[in-house]
Symmetry: C3
Subunit: 134 residues, 3 copies
Amino acid sequence: MTDKTALTPARHTAPPARFSHGVRKGGILQVAGQVGFGPAEEGRPPQPVGPGLREQTLQTLENVRAVLEEGGASWEDAMMVRVYLTDTAHFSEFNAIYDEYFAVLDQPPAARTTVYVGLPAGLLVEIDALAVLG
Amino acid sequence: MTDKTALTPARHTAPPARFSHGVRKGGILQVAGQVGFGPAEEGRPPQPVGPGLREQTLQTLENVRAVLEEGGASWEDAMMVRVYLTDTAHFSEFNAIYDEYFAVLDQPPAARTTVYVGLPAGLLVEIDALAVLG
Amino acid sequence: MTDKTALTPARHTAPPARFSHGVRKGGILQVAGQVGFGPAEEGRPPQPVGPGLREQTLQTLENVRAVLEEGGASWEDAMMVRVYLTDTAHFSEFNAIYDEYFAVLDQPPAARTTVYVGLPAGLLVEIDALAVLG
């Protein structure tokens, strides 16, 4: 019996409900949907880091990375990245940021699905990831 | 070679196409998107249990649970819960119901992603889940 | 340490960003979101095969299949199929095409979640899949 471990990066804001930012069990690591919230600040509600797609995307990817690393993994272990944007007009700009962020990887990049959905006001992007370790 | 097993809770309505309510292969169990349909009734098309978010959410979570249990798993084994709502205005109420439902768990709660999409008329929520056993 | 392998069917168009059409690591194979693009043609941007749901759906399913096969898997190994449609009015027609496509399978069909989202102009359907081998 392998334990399921919750992955909670120290600077992450608390999830808005009873879910984990990430969980690992054996070689499987799942990262919850991350958004562009900056580091938690005592007594202040979570806020996206900037009004723009670029700032939010980079922060979101860093938030995913923090969860991966909390579980002993890295982007190299990511199998799938799910991207939720809010506007099809953001696709090219998002891809440029994504390519820049993943310019250096020691393994093939993860697969990805990108769809356009509604998100809470102020959020332009949400990303989750599945990783396999070992 | 491990077999893939279909998971079909006895009281579930038949899927509207050639897919399984859940499948398990080795230690991986995937639950298909569940909605708030009540138990199947002979000669009656599937119906959501109530017009409200609360009834549909609780029924949907129970439907996911039934598939997990059909595969020898429980919420304790869930790694990821994907929540599809139709209205961002439902987020707080949904989270309150979710927290109440998961008040008692012997393992860390699953990760979660919540996005807002279109669903067939009458449905307010759809949920699927990935579990890892063993 | 198991390697992560990128899966790149020869006739697939290049992904629009730094992601893989599919990756396999050990027994886990993830297919990226596929759309109804026909085979790559030198010097021509990717194009969906037809204006209609039927042509796009069949091509999309074939594109998923090509990635599965590139990784030594088949639809028999698929655990989860995620379907993104753009219009709830397409649900019945889509299900009929899906059932026809999966009429013959040697294993129980995969689980499935279907939601309605925005996609880039001209695309009516996007599909990804998770498979477990062995």
